[in-house]
Subunit: 435 residues, 2 copies
């Protein structure tokens, strides 16, 4: 088994109790795909090296070692449409740009778009992501090859359910035995998928032992449509169908009643907050601070690159905090450490890996990033957590380990020729637009 | 005279008329501190090289050449307090942290903090900034040495006006003859400076031929205080005193009446919008879209690093656009190109350099940045401007030229030892906190 030692590091394990110090100088030892030891000081490091003489050694002076970030909602392959339709109204956006483009792209195009998305995420310290898109069966191989941890949600509407369900079975077969890739059942939303087809999704998920995800209460229009159709809110509708539990990722949750909020807490639903997307496409502001204080599991995510337009979790974290401070009128709302917990500790629950992901502690999965703290925007250090959340950049990430494997080193991804990737993406995009 | 040729570049001159193409493949030639030629194609480049055989040549394949960004409101030396007091209420922030810290720092500390701030800004493509702080007389030398373009606003309250005014005279003497550094008179605000002392500032500014800046309508509290004291809004109060004209930079302008808005337009005041600061300290949301559509000169700025916490104009641009889309409920609000105009073309007006700064055209000042477009988050290119505004990062900036001088090359600032700077900053901060 391979092993890795991060030594002389500032360590931010994301395991600190309320008022305890959040970080310390120390070392982290990895064996196989697990974290074996996380300790202050340097004493145990020699012992670790003696036990694992072949360990790869990273000297982390001036560097931070922390859990990788977890992006709980995105459409990674939509990188192909990044900037394709900015600053226009929603229906024009969908009808004239997004849907025609998507109608013309092949499974290989989707795999290519996802490759670009994963490159961007890995270089920005995202070690796990939850995807929701088409052709996810084709993408299992991409996620496996790129070394990232992924939950691939197979998106379906009423119109294509019979096409997607076999894909889910194929994807599940392709991912069987994978340590890093899991498949999920992803009805688009309660306003685009009938109750019957939502329940068919639930049944399939139960049969295959899969998690689910869907868009919930993203826009006022959605709330109105569900109200007219079913006489209740989207959350109530999904609850009546029995879809709300800790195995569901509910993306957005912008427009909630007090009852909706309580329901999401009681059912232990994983809420995925997408602040930049909500801002860019004018969806509204999610009541994250109220959800959080009520005990909901709130995570943070980028959404797709058509409504963001990047996959940068550092900016997303920061925007989550700033937006709550602005929206609530309280500068103490969503403090830095809590925002970071959303992107790590809470994110783990989206994968059903609470305590095993998003934390550095013995036994946890070895998803670790090294951040270079010797940057002008991260100096001086009054409060490292504040610096990270309010100033940290994707470009500060230097090394990324997923499942015990070094996938980014000195900001390079092994085995990826970026110029070739950009050329392939450009060619695919031209072909799709011309088609 | 030195000369520079940027060849084979994507050129974004920020001079395009409404529906004309915004960028093209071409070249930019600089002679001395001015841009001499900006042209599509490559034909004229050889001619330029023949006329300037010693020109430094930058091959800009895969790179963008654009005007440097203009940050119209910051307190650069507050880098020393970055992260010193996050997530706490305003009065506690000021009374227990900021003011005691500031009371203990020396002019040399301020110069050190400004050095760090300028390093961060230059590396992020900011070629001009408007500062507002103490000991600006000490900082003239810093801005001169670092090669950035600066307007240094000497901040005063009623309590220290007699201390600051001589500093203004000294600063003005120190900056006399500088091509890049100008001094400004900066009363803190209408609620902390009496009408008499505001007018004394105006008189001094007139005598020395200086511009002015102040905080305007940043918080509800300020509006309430001015209302109680003078029976009018902050904008009305400043207007009655005759302070509103195109020589004033009004920072924030969050809480405005319709009349205030019209007054700011009519008086041609330069409005400095600070979206991340307004969000982080819960000041409210400035009506940027209404101001812009009414014809106001709206610029964009980072504010200080205690309320941001970085000096990253790319994130600020993006947040400005996202926040207006969220606040107005209109996804078409503050489109990408208009946001970029705020940070370039409009920013020039803060310096009284309209048409000479923030644009690439013959005769304009040679403040130019080169952005590396071969980044995953900037691919593919459906719309370069959208990519820049919604995805561009400070770390994408590769080369920075200010006033015809190359100050950043391959992301390095000539003559700056960053490790030494960080150590000096850390030592200063420890001393100040212990004092």
């Amino acid at each position: 088994m391979t092993s890795i030692l991060f030594r002389n590091a500032t360590v931010l394990p994301m395991t600190a109790e309320a008022d305890a110090p959040k970080y310390f100088t120390g070392w982290v030892g990895i064996v196989g795909n697990r974290i074996e030891r996380v300790e202050a000081g340097d004493a145990g490091a020699d012992e670790f090296l003696a036990a694992h003489p072949d360990a790869r050694l990273f000297d982390c002076r001036g560097k931070l070692v922390m859990p990788g970030l977890v992006n709980t909602h995105c459409h990674a392959a939509m990188t192909l449409q990044r900037g394709y339709a900015d600053d226009i109204a929603l229906m024009e956006w969908l009808n004239d740009y997004i849907w025609p483009f998507e109608g013309r792209q092949t499974a290989d195009d989707v795999a290519l778009g996802m490759t670009l998305g994963i490159v961007e995420m890995l270089l920005g310290g995202v070690t796990s992501f939850v995807d929701m898109y088409y052709h996810e069966d084709r993408c299992v191989e991409v996620a496996e090859r790129m070394g990232i941890r992924a939950m691939l949600g197979c998106n379906y509407f009423d119109s294509n359910i019979d096409e997607v369900f076999p894909q889910i079975e194929r994807a599940e077969a392709a991912a069987a035995g994978s340590l890093r890739v899991q498949i999920a059942v992803a009805p688009h939303s309660a306003y685009t998928v009938s109750p019957e087809n939502l329940l068919r999704g639930r049944k399939l998920a139960d049969r295959l032992g899969l998690r689910m995800m869907t868009h919930v209460a993203e826009t006022r229009d959605e709330v109105r449509i569900i109200g007219e159709r079913f006489g209740c809110t989207p959350v109530e509708h999904l609850d009546r169908l029995g879809l709300l539990d800790e195995r569901l990722i509910a993306a957005h949750c912008v427009h909630l009643t007090d009852d909706d909020l309580r329901t999401l807490v009681e059912r232990r639903v994983v809420v995925s907050h997408n602040p930049q997307s909500n801002m860019k496409i004018s969806s509204g502001v999610a009541p994250v601070e109220r959800l959080r204080k009520a005990g909901a599991c709130v995570t943070v995510a980028t959404d797709g690159t058509c409504s963001n337009n990047d996959l940068d979790m550092w900016e997303e974290l920061r925007t989550a905090s700033f937006l709550q401070k602005s929206y609530t009128g309280d500068p103490c709302a969503l403090p830095a450490y809590e925002a970071l917990r959303m992107a790590t500790v809470n994110g783990a629950r989206a994968f059903g890996l609470e305590g095993l992901l998003g934390v550095l502690r013995p036994g946890a999965l070895a998803d670790v990033v090294v951040v270079d703290l010797r940057k002008p925007h991260l100096q001086p250090v009054h409060d490292l957590v504040g610096n990270l959340v309010y100033c940290g950049k994707a470009s500060d990430v230097e090394t990324v380990v997923v499942d015990g494997r070094v996938v980014v080193e000195k900001r390079q991804i092994e085995g990826i020729d970026l110029e070739r990737l950009y050329a392939d993406v450009a060619a695919a995009v031209e072909r799709i637009k011309r088609a």
